[in-house]
């Protein structure tokens, strides 16, 4: 652990953090733009060229807004909760491999902040504690709508975590590793995991929608029933934190989906044309981000197409459809992997 190593990791972490925040910021703009285009409108286009400065204007607006804390609320928790939401959202970025490694002056620098050998479990753990921000915020507001929103959020996230976990287990069985970096590296060429695990990928994507509380699973904040859900009482930048956390979650889920199932930074055939290692690494980052941006676009596309589920439909889908399907996927995967042994038993 030399000083240079520490500095390099620090720089990488800061870059990842900044890029995450930047992308979350522009996701708000993209969301409005995409929504507009899908509805035959233009979306924001007044602030700057094509409205490109809209997020800045929004941020200024949020900062200038009056800060309101309900007098009946639990002040400490009320203030901590949005920060917690944002913190857990930002924590996931460290295990994502953003690219292979860059070689500068003979030293190779990996573009992954840390390759934990239990990276997937780490991701899963962070996601599972992500619900606290919402729950605490909802409870501390001392408002019935907020509490109901928080309840919905937590039960929804717990329910869908099960299916998500089981679909990931099937993925782990085929890849044989828990390290996100290795999973990404294994998918060179056409060895994308979606071709191996199509059903698992579908389940994972659906669960990712539910975990990020995005439409059609945005019941915790459905305006028609719960005013604003868990952030009813929030105003100003605290409200902004919650919205920001949602967009960061969306970005990270897109990154995770791309890495797990869509080859991460790999692109088929690119090795034939480009042989320089550094160029390949940079292209890898570009490919990964292209995939992530498509993922974010997909999130928005779905949001502005599909109406929200009813609560019982949500629970039925989670417990009665996705969990059995993911278990089926698990069993099929296991059977396929053990096919030689099974066949040999029957031949005997």
């Amino acid at each position: 652990m030399t000083l240079g190593y520490v500095i390099y990791k620090l720089i990488l972490a800061v870059i990842v953090f900044t890029v995450t925040l930047l992308i979350a910021m522009y996701s708000t703009y993209a969301e409005r733009k995409v929504a507009g285009f899908l509805q035959d409108r233009l979306g924001p286009n007044r602030a700057g060229w094509f409205g490109i400065l809209q997020p800045v204007a929004d941020a200024v607006k949020l900062f200038m807004k009056e800060e309101m804390i309900p007098s009946v609320s639990n002040k400490t928790l009320f203030i901590i909760a949005p920060g917690l939401s944002l913190l857990t959202a930002c924590m996931t970025g460290v295990v994502i491999p953003w690219g292979t490694s860059l070689t500068i002056f003979g030293t190779s620098y990996s573009l992954q902040v840390t390759d934990l050998n239990i990276g997937i479990l780490y991701l899963f753990g962070v996601v599972s504690i992500g619900v606290y921000g919402i729950m605490i915020g909802g409870w501390a507001s001392n408002n019935k709508y907020s509490l109901l929103g928080a309840m919905r959020a937590s039960s929804q996230m717990i329910s869908y975590e099960v299916a998500m976990g089981i679909s990931i287990i099937a993925l782990i069985m085929t890849t044989g590793t828990l390290s996100v970096g290795q999973i990404a590296a294994q998918q060179h060429g056409w060895h994308w995991n979606i071709l191996v695990q199509p059903l698992g990928c579908l389940i994972f994507i659906i669960c990712a929608f539910a975990e990020t509380n995005r439409a059609p699973f945005d019941l915790p904040e459905c305006e028609q029933e719960l005013v604003g859900g868990y952030h009813t009482e929030y105003s100003s930048m605290k409200m902004g934190f919650y919205l920001f956390a949602e967009y960061i979650n969306m970005f990270v889920s897109s990154a995770v989906i791309s890495t797990f199932y869509f080859g991460g930074y790999n692109m088929p055939f690119i090795g034939r044309f480009v042989h320089d290692g550094n160029l390949l690494a940079i292209l890898g980052v570009v490919f990964l981000f292209a995939k992530i941006f498509f993922g974010i676009f997909f999130f928005m596309w779905v949001r502005w197409t599909i109406p929200r589920f009813r609560y019982d439909q949500l629970m039925n889908l989670g417990w009665k459809t996705l969990i059995p399907l993911s278990i089926l996927n698990l069993v099929l995967t296991g059977a396929w992997m053990m096919r030689h042994e099974i066949i040999s038993v029957f031949i005997k």
Binding site: L77, L116, N117, I118, L121, Y122, F124, G125, V127, S128, I129, V131, Y132, M135, I136, W139, L147, A150, M151, S154, S155, M157, I158, E161, L178
Partner: protein, 166 residues
């Protein structure tokens, strides 16, 4: 060296949060302190190089069980008015009982202070490959038995949750 300091720091936090669980008046605060306490214990696991255990601890305890706890307590809406009143005798007897338990524990620990660490301790046992090999080779039967136990619990929960058949 740094691990020693971390150990003391985490232990201090763990004990402090543990005390706060008992001492805080508000049940929600208790649960949240318990969650923090679990996090410090997960930190201990990491210090022991048992990352898998640490993460699973976080996922299962902090991420699932405590969320359900919080869920229920939030819905119950416990506060000062609904708190059952306990008589002074009850409190006194509880204090005596807990005190004697503490005494017994301290006494037993005092006698066992010369305990040797198990020689066969392998610092890499907590890593996932070793753990998996141990679990599925040496301890296969207990593992399967515990899975059957969980299955039975699951079936029981489904039975309880089912609407009664008319």
């Amino acid at each position: 060296m740094i691990t020693t300091y971390l150990f003391y720091f985490l232990s201090f936090l763990a004990i402090m949060f543990g005390l706060m669980v008992v001492l805080s008046k508000n049940p929600i605060h208790s649960v949240l302190y318990l969650v923090l306490c679990f996090f410090t214990i997960a930190g201990h696991y990491v210090l022991l190089n048992a990352q898998f255990l640490a993460v699973v601890h976080v996922i299962v305890y902090s991420g699932a069980i405590m969320v359900l706890f919080l869920f229920v307590i939030m819905l119950l809406n416990l506060n000062k008015e609904t708190e059952p009143h306990k008589s002074i005798w009850l409190k006194a007897s509880a204090a005596v009982a807990a005190g004697s338990l503490l005494l017994v524990m301290v006494a037993s620990l005092k006698g066992a202070s010369t305990i040797q660490s198990v020689n066969t301790f392998n610092p890499n046992i907590g890593l996932i490959e070793n753990l998996g090999t141990t679990l599925f080779k040496d301890f296969l039967l207990p593992f399967e038995v515990s899975s059957i136990l969980l299955l039975a619990a699951m079936v029981g929960a489904v039975m309880l949750g089912k609407k009664s058949i008319k």
